[in-house]
Symmetry: C2
Subunit: 476 residues, 2 copies
């Protein structure tokens, strides 16, 4: 089972634990059963061992802990809400897990600068609520927002359903406070829209999965909250038709297009079967659906006529076979639930192979077709239940399989299809420890050399999150 090593009488370990206990207080150093939940990722793919789980209260304590660990030759695994999908926050063997949940203050929401400053351990949901209560929006929507913490959201450069218009977490990060591998703190909490003084450290730390530094606070860009919203659920004739519909929407009002999410017919039927209370908003089953949202900060923006006109044109042209436009907030929420419950539905239905592919948007139809062919050739009769962020080129090409034995082979095969199209094997989930092999295989010499060189420059002793992104890092 989960792997805190107890009892542990190694004198070196006793010494570092005493030191950490002195920094954060004894009740914030967890071992045994208390520590177990921190040593397994939430999908249960990885379980590691840790010397202890340490819960610092602020950046100064994080810095002191890292310095102590570096001095003792013990590696550190930063962890937020432990909602990652690639094991990036799970220890491998004998590290200290630094759990950042006590750094949980929203420091400031500025309605003139459209910026908020928030500590790493605040959940995404709490962060968004703080923005919302100031009439603003942090445009980042991921399923795990109730547990995911801002530090982890930034460390993995989370994406989600709002990236079509506003980009990923990296695009929203204006400045950071980061504890470095030597225990120093970088005070980079700038609130500037433009700052060309030196290379882009903030952009570099975002998405580095805790391997270059530990994010302890961030300044995030906010946008005016949407005050007009229209949501449609649309059955399209084919993936190509979905692409055509996307083009029509862009031409009609690309600036108002907030989401363009794809749901395969099989994924929708699985959700309807697994999740209570879901209702199929369209009468007849289709092979492919799209959820469209348009929104505007302007309450009077007349988006419904625009969306209706596009859908009418698309029906006329045979791209769309059926569509419904939500007439109330309750209906909008209902349509979004169809999309948001897909992961849970697949989880409930049993063994799933997950994928997190992206390809150039124009290649999505080819990708969906070819990936289905290669998977069915490998495991005849498997369930192909893809969905995802069509407007970003990001498809979760998930599969329902009788048992998990073929999982790696299938993941690899789907990846190769995307690779042939100039795609990515990880659009938004990161690399963690799950995909280090894929990273090395896909990216090859020049790029891997740069990754290793930058890792070596900022963490020469391999203190921070070893074995993540890069399979092997030099250890202290």
């Amino acid at each position: 089972m989960s792997g805190i090593r107890t009892p542990d009488h190694d004198p070196d370990h006793v010494r570092i634990l005493a030191r950490l206990s002195g920094i954060v207080g004894p009740r914030h150093v967890l071992g045994g059963a208390d520590a177990a939940p921190f040593c397994t990722d939430w999908r249960g793919l990885f379980t590691g061992t840790a010397l202890a789980v340490v819960r610092p209260a602020d950046a100064a304590q994080v810095a002191a802990c890292v310095a102590a660990c570096a001095a003792a030759g013990v590696a550190v695994v930063p962890q937020g809400g432990n909602t990652g999908l690639c094991g990036g926050a799970t220890p491998q063997g004998g590290e200290i897990v630094l759990s950042l949940g006590r750094l949980n203050r929203v420091r400031d929401v500025d309605t003139v600068d459209l910026v908020m400053e928030v500590e790493a351990g605040v959940t995404l949901q709490a962060t968004r609520l703080a923005a919302d209560s100031a009439g603003l929006d942090l445009p980042l929507g991921i399923a795990s927002e109730g547990s995911a913490q801002i530090g982890g959201v930034l460390a993995t450069n989370a994406g989600g359903t709002a990236t079509l218009r506003y980009g990923t977490a990296r695009d929203l990060a204006l400045g950071l406070e980061v504890v470095l591998a030597d225990g120093r703190i970088w005070h980079g909490l700038r609130r500037l829209r433009k700052d060309n003084t030196g290379i882009a450290l903030t952009k570099l730390f975002v998405g580095s999965e805790g391997t270059l530094g530990i994010i302890t606070a961030a300044c995030l860009r906010l946008v005016p909250a949407a005050r007009a919203r229209e949501v449609a659920f649309v059955a399209v004739a084919s993936p190509e038709a979905a692409l055509g519909l996307l083009g029509l929407l862009r031409r009609a009002d690309g600036a108002a297009l907030a989401a363009f999410e794809y749901i395969s017919g099989a994924a929708l039927r699985l959700a309807l079967a697994q999740i209570e209370g879901l209702i199929d908003p369209l009468g007849t089953a289709a092979g492919h659906y799209v959820l469209v949202e348009m929104s505007s900060p302007r309450a009077e923006a007349a988006l419904a006529p625009v969306l209706e006109a596009v859908l009418a044109e698309a029906l006329e042209g045979g791209l769309v076979t059926d569509a419904v436009l939500a007439a109330s907030e309750a209906q909008r929420t209902g349509l979004w639930r169809l999309r948001e419950t897909l992961t849970e539905a697949q989880q409930r239905a049993g063994a799933t192979v997950k994928n997190d592919i992206s390809v150039p948007i124009s290649r999505i139809p080819d990708f969906l077709r070819q990936a289905a062919v290669v998977c069915e050739a490998r495991v005849p009769g498997l369930g192909v239940v893809p969905f995802g962020h069509f407007g970003d080129g990001n498809i979760h090409f998930n599969l329902m399989v009788p048992d998990a034995s073929a999982a790696e082979d299938l993941m690899h095969a789907v990846g190769e299809v995307a690779r042939g199209m100039g795609g990515s094997f990880s659009a938004e989930h990161g690399v963690g420890q799950l995909k280090t092999g894929l990273l090395a295989a896909w990216r090859g010499g020049v790029e891997m050399d740069m990754f290793a060189a930058i890792k070596g420059a900022l963490d020469p002793r391999g203190v921070l999150n070893p074995g993540k992104i890069l399979a092997s890092t030099s250890r202290t």
Copy 2:
């Protein structure tokens, strides 16, 4: 004068020039008077010496040249259109200038993916025209677009008048092709909206001013071209009133707000005096003006009533004292000329001290006031002619001075005001060789150490653009 060392019979130099000549062909190795324009920046602040100016034809030749220079222990200065404002593309002493103008193909414009692939030496103007002829827009507007080349635009992370909605060059770069310090090529020309496979190398190279690698091609994000536009020229009661107007516009339709540019009354009057054909669109002189643009890709977007309603409310509330809304494309162009000719007008009027400050948007009024006070205390009677990208917090706090002797002191004093507000001394112009001292003074130990560590990781022998961003780099 300019500084090619000719005649030069140093056998090492003869050898490397022969080698470079073999790579690019003798007529693409320039010396003497031919090379002189490449050895001085366009403002004439810096003149360096170079062994030669070499004009490679493609990325392979760039790579071969860099490898040859690295082997010979000669440093390389990449140069695009030579329009930079901080001397970042000007050699200091004995480097090879690699001029990238022959890498001038627009490789592809994809109207489905909304991406274009373009080589480093294409001018920004030609790049934008290629996008435009496909019904798309590359939203980057800088005054030097006719000469500035994409490679330099990316290397300096250029900003300009379109960043309010779409961000800077970094935000538009999806993938890059880069020649590294050892002469290898990184083929990172991805066209993906989302790709979380390893750290953000593209974001790192953009803005690194040629010190980490030489960008030879890029995949850039495009947006649907605006098909509805409204431009207003507005006299505001004060900088605070401008801030109030910005708030009203955001609330009215923040998504359509494309530009919010500030022009001080003194800057406008100088432009009217210096530039033929400029017309003051408002009858009476004011202390502060704002140029507002709203735009939408939707031809039917009724932006004029929105803008008129906001201006009426602002007039009512005393924020705005006068305003005019352009009624035709010719009038829109005329209003924009007032903004676009400011730099040229100041250049013509004589000695200018330029600044490129950014502060949090909320601090702009305080900044304008305090900066004027400190400058007038230093040089009584000097001309304070600020303008800039108010909506981004980026003010060019320019000064007209009787002679240049006080320039550095004034630049420093203005900087200190911004620094006290959490600002930046270089919002969009970069560091180059002009501001290396400021960078070190402002950013201090932790940040400078990271810059140096990453420079050392990617260019351990100091081959690429030495003396830029970091004043001293280890040389081969």
